[in-house]
Amino acid sequence: MSFLQILTLLAAGAGYTLLVTLACIATGLAVGLLVAMLSRVRSRPLQFLLGSFTYVFRGVPVLVLLFLVFFGLPGIGIRVPPLGAMMLSLGLIAGAYLAEVFRGALDAIDQNEIVAAEAMGMSRLQILLSIEVPQMLRFSVPGMLNEFTTVLKYSPFAYTVGIPDIMKQAMALAATTLRGLEIYLAIGLLYFAIYKLILVAVRALERRFRVPGLTPP
């Protein structure tokens, strides 16, 4: 097998790795934002539910949940496609962690500003969208970056449910070339490059939206 062929295969795998990572990040962001915002609603049953969700999904290993969704759910009549299974396991777990990040950021917002917005006559929803969310997102950048990195690092589990990502390609290549050492070293660097890419993208976004002096108190 030529070097070029190897590169092509790994590049195709990288596409799937990015797809899985982005799909799980998107799931996590949606779930995390929803949970964090619902945590502002004063309702004991709802808070118990949200608390249980974050506790359970932060306490179960990604692989166990992935297997439960992909191999377990068909047993009770629910078939989930591979990417969907990744989103329902890795994505939801990321959502639970991100919910905590967002909740902490919401708590860091200066209450005086909320009162000022109320005194102006703004509605709860207007306050949430114009004051709380923009500040919360800025406060959450380090936590989000952490979680995005974690998602990327767990994305290789996608191979266990048959998604032809970097890991799967690497295993196939290692089996045919018998050069596992070089191949796993190469994909280690490939993952590191993707990590750096995410880092640069998030940093650029952060710089674009940076506000002088806006740090959590």
Binding site: G59, V62, G72, P156, Y184, Y195, K196
Partner: protein, 224 residues
């Protein structure tokens, strides 16, 4: 209901293996938590080195292990190294791989805590005549460790959960045994559900223990 009864029956039949698997999981989690902490303190110490080269190399180390999937490292050692005639047992590979990875994370928690430290104190210790290593041992480390308890606790929980991936390199821990059980009784849903609940219980034990630890060691007047 009858499904659960037959599941219970199979699980009881398979009980010795499950218990052995659980033992292996706990063994691995405990070892890597300890070695990861020791490694983390060592890496953290190197990040404080006055030597610029040391610092750069250490920062590169931390960044690389935080940015690379652990599973790749484990595969590299377990499936790649025999190419050079180096055959390591699954446990050895797991311990080495996890230790390098966890040490990087722990070092980062410690660095964050260090940045929040009152650096006047360190200056005072130096002014008193303590050597660099003495300042580290008697002033920096005790404070930084206490301030990092929440981060280190999280890492311990992650260690336990992430130990479930080593069945991919043939280490027969708890999750591997549960998969064997599922392959026998074909009750995948129930088996994996129970596996998830067991991990949740183990995590809860760590959470409760950490709370006790925090209450004992948190310095008055500081927010951990």
């Amino acid at each position: 209901m009858s499904g659960w009864l037959s599941f219970l029956h199979d699980a009881l039949d398979y009980w010795p293996q499950i218990l052995a698997g659980l033992g292996n999981t706990v063994l691995l989690a405990v070892i890597i938590t300890v070695t990861g902490l020791i490694g983390g303190v060592f890496v953290f110490y190197l990040t404080l080195s006055p030597n610029r080269l040391y610092r750069r190399v250490t920062e590169g180390y931390i960044s690389f292990f935080i940015g690379t999937p652990l599973i790749v490292l484990l595969f590299l050692m377990y499936y790649g190294l025999p190419q050079w005639g180096l055959r390591l047992s699954p446990l050895t590979v797991s311990v080495i791989g996890f230790t390098m990875n966890v040490a990087a994370y722990n070092a980062r928690y410690l660095m964050t805590a260090y940045n929040g430290l009152d650096h006047g104190e360190l200056e005072a210790a130096r002014a008193q005549g303590f050597s660099g290593l003495q300042v580290f041992r008697f002033v920096t480390l005790p404070q930084v460790l206490r301030m990092s308890i929440p981060g280190l606790t999280n890492q311990t929980i992650l260690n336990l959960k992430d130990s479930s991936i080593v069945f991919l390199i043939q280490y027969t821990e708890f999750f591997a045994q549960m998969q064997d059980l599922a392959a026998r009784n074909f009750q995948y849903f129930k088996t994996y559900l129970v596996a998830g609940i067991v991990y949740l219980l183990l995590v809860s034990i760590i959470v409760i223990a950490a709370r006790q630890l925090e209450r004992r060691f948190v310095m008055p007047g500081t927010r951990a």
